[in-house]
Amino acid sequence: MKHTVQILLAIFCCTTTLIAQTPAPRITGNLQTNANFFIASPKFGTPSTPQYNNQKFGTESWLALSYSNWGFDMGLRFDMFNNSNLLNPTGSFTGEGIGRWYIHKEINKFDLAGGYLYDQIGSGIIFRAYEERTLMIDNALFGVKVGYQFNDDWKIKAFTGRQKRQFDTYGSVIRGASIEGFIQPDTAKNFTLAPGFGTVARTLDKETVERARNEMSRYQRFDSIQYNSYAFTLFNTLNAGNFTWFFEGAYKTKDVIFDEFDRVITRDTNFLPDGSVGSIEFDTINGILVNTDGYMAYTSMTYASEGFGITLEGKYTKNFRFRTDPYQIGVQGQMNFLPPMARQNTFRLPARFSPNTQEIGEQGFQLDARYSLSKKISVGLNVSDIYLLDGKSLYREIAPEFTFKQERKWQLLLGLQFLKYNIVTYQFKDDPEDRNDALPWVGTGQQGYVDAFSPYAEWLYKFTPRNSLRVEAQYLLTDDEFGSWAFLLAELGLAPHWLIYVSDMYKVPNSADAGISNPDKIKYDNLHYLTAGIVYTHRANRFSFSFVNQVEGINCAGGICRYEPPFHGVRLQLSSSF
């Protein structure tokens, strides 16, 4: 008995020691589900998509589980798409399976991972593997990654794999490495540097090269292409007191990219039987594959002190389209991420015309400043100006904002947006009716541009610390695209569980005096896009039910945009973390 007690005591001690040394196993997860019921509405011009025509219902869902034990981190995600229009807003996609799995382990100074990995180098200019579900972007790298921490300040990593595409992978092979450090010359002073260098190489598969060779041989000129393309980046963040400066410069060696703005004229000579030239025909091929190098520079300077903050960003891009292969367009197959030069507007109408990043060529700057006049009043200004490399204006936004906070009782935000938006480049839409602009300072509108002026306001009133009412009022004044819009939203918050909202987006009719003959321009006149919803939140679980009437538009995230057709129907959303 004595021995038994001693043995049990020893086992307990050992077990306790082990438990104290090894973190307890942990399993966490989250579920996100969207369900859309499509209800045809001739009044709103229902698009002829499979969901409206036949399917009536579409859903997408992601269930992710993470497990940590024995020093390992493991994850598994089940993805499901049933008649989903998320991949192609005018199509239908059905598929289900393991969307992601990974295993990660740290061994001393080594960091090892395998599976579907998300990662980036620097700000992502030469490589970024990430997920953005609202745009159906999931370009995880299916491969392995090895990291090594030299000391507290310097680390190095290398990876290789292929990029994910839904439940498949692209044929090209990616490999890359980076080294990042942290330097503080004097610990007593607030001056630091965080330099880094990275490189990525992509090897095209044989089929892709053969297809490119066949396409480029049509251009009737001698050329050569390669399997491998390399990108290099050098970046640094400098901190000096209240000042922060980030800079990144990148170069990409020759790469076969699709340039939709380039063209080639081919000559086809027809010979007569006697060998003389009978006729010569010329063909123009618009949008061609080109084998070219590219570069990009991005910088961001920030000064922040109590009550004042200012950020100035600048960017220059030339031929920095970096895809898994030259046939990928839209959001597909992107290996990198080019930082946008415009803020992501959160209000509905100011966000209606958002710029997407131009990979072939773009230059621009953005200024964002905020100053607190007092504890109650603050003002802000955002200016964004983007051009093509030939100097043609793409996007200009000037948006001053004013915020007033009355104790904890209410808060008011007032903003203005002055906008110039090149709708030809961004949406390939024209505005032929733009003869006499509604904006007095614009005069006769420039064809191909949306000139808009959008005042907006948000008022938040707290009845009690838990109960509040939020009201948004916005107006988009323009005679471009479809013309002016008005938007009103009221949202009642009953914390911690309930949120109820109703909104209306109203299409202000175009002036009858304008003599508009284009039926597309007036097709939405006088329509009310009513939306109402209710959200229930319980701890980390959120359930929402809404009836949605949504006009067609552009959906953007991080400078990446795509066309979204109108939506009429019921939307259910569930998100849960556990």
Binding site: N88, Y170, A177, I179, E207, D223, G287, L289, P519
Partner: protein, 277 residues
């Protein structure tokens, strides 16, 4: 030591930077076919619309490919691009057809324009057969390099007075074919002048090419119920009257054998015959 590690690390990444380049040489027209020998004929189905501003760039590319490959490429333009296919007020014709829209939906869904299918092949990792223009030439070349599995001998007889058109398609498999195979027969009309959006300009006298006018069979193809055995010939006949608004000299009959599965609707062989030779 650390420096050595760095050097080895990055050198390893770029070992073999020097690679053998792939040389591009200008193409030449395919031709000189032995008429007695049937070769692979590839089908390109362009999805377009009169309001699609950049679709003409795709049409130009297909016309150029058509010149390059001659009789080994058949092009059909389906006016059913969602949101772009509605005629203008001053359009002379409505190129949309019920069967054309049904066909476009049957093939799949397109995200970007210009777009076309090449033998309706789904090229992994794509999930739809509609492909961007920079991929067409490569896929056509791959399809032409495949061995012939079934031949189509298309014959037409047209009576200009009655506008009656008799079509006969002899289907001769080279090897036994098992599964769901279908025959689709359609009428196309070339060289119609009408309104088209070209980039930012609405061109009133645009030359439309290879326009799908009607599908004689079902839009999804008529199922071939007879056994498709090697060297056995199955003959399918069709008769129709050409509408008076269609100019017969610019009309062609297009026929092709394709799979009927979902998603595999791959075209095995196509054929084209002018109504008036």
């Amino acid at each position: 030591m650390k420096k050595i590690v760095y050097v080895i690390f990055f050198a390893a990444l770029f070992a073999g930077c020097e690679e053998k380049w792939v040389v591009i040489t200008p193409t030449t027209k395919s031709g000189g076919n032995d008429p007695s020998e049937q070769k692979r004929v590839v089908l390109a189905e362009e999805l377009t619309g009169v309001r699609c501003p950049n679709c003409p760039e795709g049409t130009d590319a297909l016309v150029a490919l058509d010149k390059q490959y001659g009789e080994q490429l058949v092009v059909v333009s389906i006016h059913a691009a969602l949101g772009y296919d509605q005629p203008y007020n001053n359009s002379l014709y409505d190129f949309r057809t019920g069967k054309g829209t049904q066909l476009a939906n049957y093939i799949g869904s397109a995200i970007f324009f210009p777009t076309a299918t090449i033998n309706r092949r789904i090229v992994p990792p794509e999930t739809e057969p509609y492909l961007p223009r920079q991929q067409w030439a490569g896929i056509i070349a791959e399809e032409l390099a495949k061995p012939l599995t079934v031949g189509i001998d298309l014959k037409t007889a047209y009576d200009a007075n009655s506008r009656k058109l008799d079509i006969s398609a002899d289907i001769t498999p080279v090897e036994d074919l098992l599964g769901d195979y279908r025959l689709t027969v359609m009428i196309t009309q070339d060289s119609i002048v009408d309104v088209q959006k070209v980039e930012l300009v609405t061109v009133v006298n645009y030359l439309h090419r290879h326009i799908l006018r009607n599908i004689v069979t079902q839009a999804t193809g008529d199922i071939i119920s007879e056994p498709l055995v090697a060297d056995g010939t199955i003959t399918k006949t069709f008769t129709l009257n050409l509408p008076v608004t269609w100019e017969a000299k610019h009309c062609s009959v297009v026929a092709f054998i394709h799979r009927g599965g979902d998603p595999n609707k791959e075209v095995l062989q196509a054929a084209e015959k002018h109504v008036i030779e």
